[in-house]
């Protein structure tokens, strides 16, 4: 009988056992490389908002996971356990404490990673630790709820297929009336399309203006596209809860649908974690080689302008704008220049926020934090850093290419009474479209048709 094992709770033992299956070479590299130089400390928004509290320091948080690795999976922990600060977990209470660190004190934003000379990627093994806890059912209630919806219903907001379709059809009617074109379509499940367009369920459930705006842009560009009736949710709570199986199932549904429709390119609406999950991490999780191209809608819109497929007039977006880089877009996927280029084409007054690009601060709602009500006070406290950064730009509106950042920023703007608006590139591009001539032409064309048909009916 193994007495060491018997001292441990059932869940604690499962966490230790599973860690062995989840360690990748990259993670082991990160877990062993830290020299505790402290250079990452001030890169974390939690540290900056809580000066004097060492428990927020990235290396401190990392050590809570690292000690398990050292104790159970690294030879140094077996030979010099005290020296390398090896340690284990024994009780469910200790697992709860670990939960409060890996979910409540880190948004997996990776800002510490880009500031670490040793290349320690805390966010990667923090995600792994989240996954270990989720495996034994220890996670914030909101994360559990959303993961379940995404697994069982197929999207993170539990929208039923008929409601999704009804919403797209409703936006199609809006498109027809705005374009004065009764034949304008938002096609669903059209096979062999150039583009399959996937979105964040928030667009369906709460605010479909971005669907209409994207549809207007596709319409103006004369694009051959479709929205899928299933596999349309490009968000992925597998990234947040560390569950690769959930990640693979969700991304896999998107890929399968694109293949079924024989779509040539997958276009992902503006969402940082959705883009990272669907374009970068998903094929790994789903264990699938994808046979089609995948890109952010930011690239699609920029290309339309560059190729002259759509015309825009930046004077249609008066006022001053700054740009907030989503952590996943900028630090994990390198999507930093295209959004700026696009923004500069559709607004007159664009002012950088500092620091920016890969050094930008998290909206503080990243890593699924928007779904963790229990940590919201601490999140909003840490948001002071972002609030100061926003206020210093002196702009009226912050633009971001991420649905989650929209909500994270909206919360902190309200909390710190900044009085700023938040918007996305799709809204600004649609608003800047020069389409009056198309609309006028449509108006005439369909009025004539009406006359002809009413004339022939007489």
């Amino acid at each position: 009988m193994n007495t060491e094992k018997n001292k441990r709770s059932y869940k604690a033992q499962k966490v230790i056992d599973r860690m062995g299956q989840k360690l990748t070479r990259q993670m082991v590299g990160s877990l062993t490389a830290c020299v505790h130089c402290g250079m990452c400390t001030d890169s974390c928004h939690y540290v900056l908002a809580n000066p004097g509290d060492p428990t927020f320091a990235p290396a401190y948080k990392a050590d809570k996971i690292r000690k398990l690795f050292k104790q159970h999976y690294d030879w140094t922990g077996k030979v010099f356990p005290k020296w390398v600060k090896a340690g284990s977990v024994y009780t469910d209470e200790e697992l709860q404490e670990l939960k409060d660190i890996v979910f409540g004190k880190c948004t997996n934003c990776r800002r510490c990673t880009v500031n670490c000379p040793m290349g320690v990627d805390l966010a990667t093994f923090n995600r792994m630790a989240r996954g270990l806890l989720c495996h034994v059912g220890i996670m914030p209630e909101g994360v559990e709820y959303v993961a379940k919806e995404q697994w069982e219903i197929g999207n993170q907001m539990g929208v039923l297929k008929e409601d999704y379709i009804e919403t797209v059809e409703w936006q199609e009617e809006e498109l027809q009336s705005e374009m004065e074109d009764p034949t304008a379509k938002i096609p669903i499940d059209k096979p062999d399309s150039n583009i399959v367009y996937v979105i964040n369920p928030r667009e369906i459930k709460h605010d479909p203006r971005s669907i209409l705006d994207a549809a207007k842009i596709f319409y103006a560009a004369g694009e051959d596209y479709t929205m899928p009736s299933e596999g349309w949710d490009m968000t992925n709570f597998g990234l947040f809860n560390g569950d690769d199986e959930l990640g693979g199932a969700v991304a896999g549904r998107v890929y399968d649908k694109v293949e079924e429709l024989r779509g040539k390119k997958l276009v992902i609406s503006e969402c940082g974690h959705g883009y990272r999950s669907t374009r970068c991490e998903g094929p790994n999780w789903a264990k699938k080689d994808i046979t089609f191209d995948a890109e952010s809608s930011v690239i699609t819109m920029l290309e339309y302008i560059k190729q002259g497929k759509i015309k825009v007039d930046k004077t249609k977006n008066p006022g001053s704008y700054t740009f907030h880089d989503s952590c996943n877009n900028a630090r994990s996927c390198g999507l930093t220049e295209e959004p700026r280029e696009l923004l500069s084409l559709v607004v007159e007054d664009f002012r950088e926020m500092y620091p920016n690009r890969a050094e930008n601060y998290c909206c503080t709602g990243g890593g699924g934090a928007m779904s963790m009500a229990e940590y919201r006070p601490s999140r909003l406290k840490s948001a002071k850093i972002k609030a100061d950064q926003l206020a210093a730009t002196g702009t009226k509106t912050v633009v971001t290419s991420c649905h989650n950042c929209v909500d994270g920023l909206t919360d902190l703007i309200g909390h710190y009474k900044l009085g700023m608006d938040v918007t996305q590139l799709v809204n600004l591009v649609a608003n800047a479209l020069v389409i009056d001539d198309i609309v006028e032409e449509n108006k005439k064309k369909y009025a004539e048709k009406e006359e002809v048909s009413s004339g022939s009916a007489q």
Partner: protein, 107 residues
């Protein structure tokens, strides 16, 4: 939100960002307070109430807020009018004033 806590005299009831924790704690007076705090300056009109009661009933029946398409179609209100009625949007406006808890997910 602290100010609202004081007005209602109930610290625990507010989740955060003034969403109610407990849908049963809601009352017409609280709705009016929440409306003022959320950019509905001139008080709640009949159209507001139509949306508020619809959203509440939906939540009480299905334990989730309704999709915006249902609000628009079932209340017979245009999307534009809905945006004007609740400038903070469906969730931070209508759901909140109707006493729904903050929904989970990227919101």
């Amino acid at each position: 939100m602290e100010t609202t806590d004081i007005k209602t005299g109930n610290k625990e009831t507010f989740h955060c960002e003034d969403f109610l924790n407990d849908i049963d704690f809601w009352s017409i007076d609280i709705a009016e307070i929440l409306a003022k705090d959320n950019k509905i300056a001139d008080g709640l009109t009949a159209d507001h109430w139509k949306v508020i009661m619809y959203v509440r009933e939906h939540y009480l029946k299905y334990e989730r807020g309704p999709e915006i398409v249902k609000v628009v179609k079932d209340c017979g209100i245009s999307f534009k009018d809905l945006c004007n009625l609740f400038p903070c949007g469906l969730v931070r406006g209508a759901y909140k004033v109707a006493g729904l808890p903050r929904p989970h997910g990227c919101i």
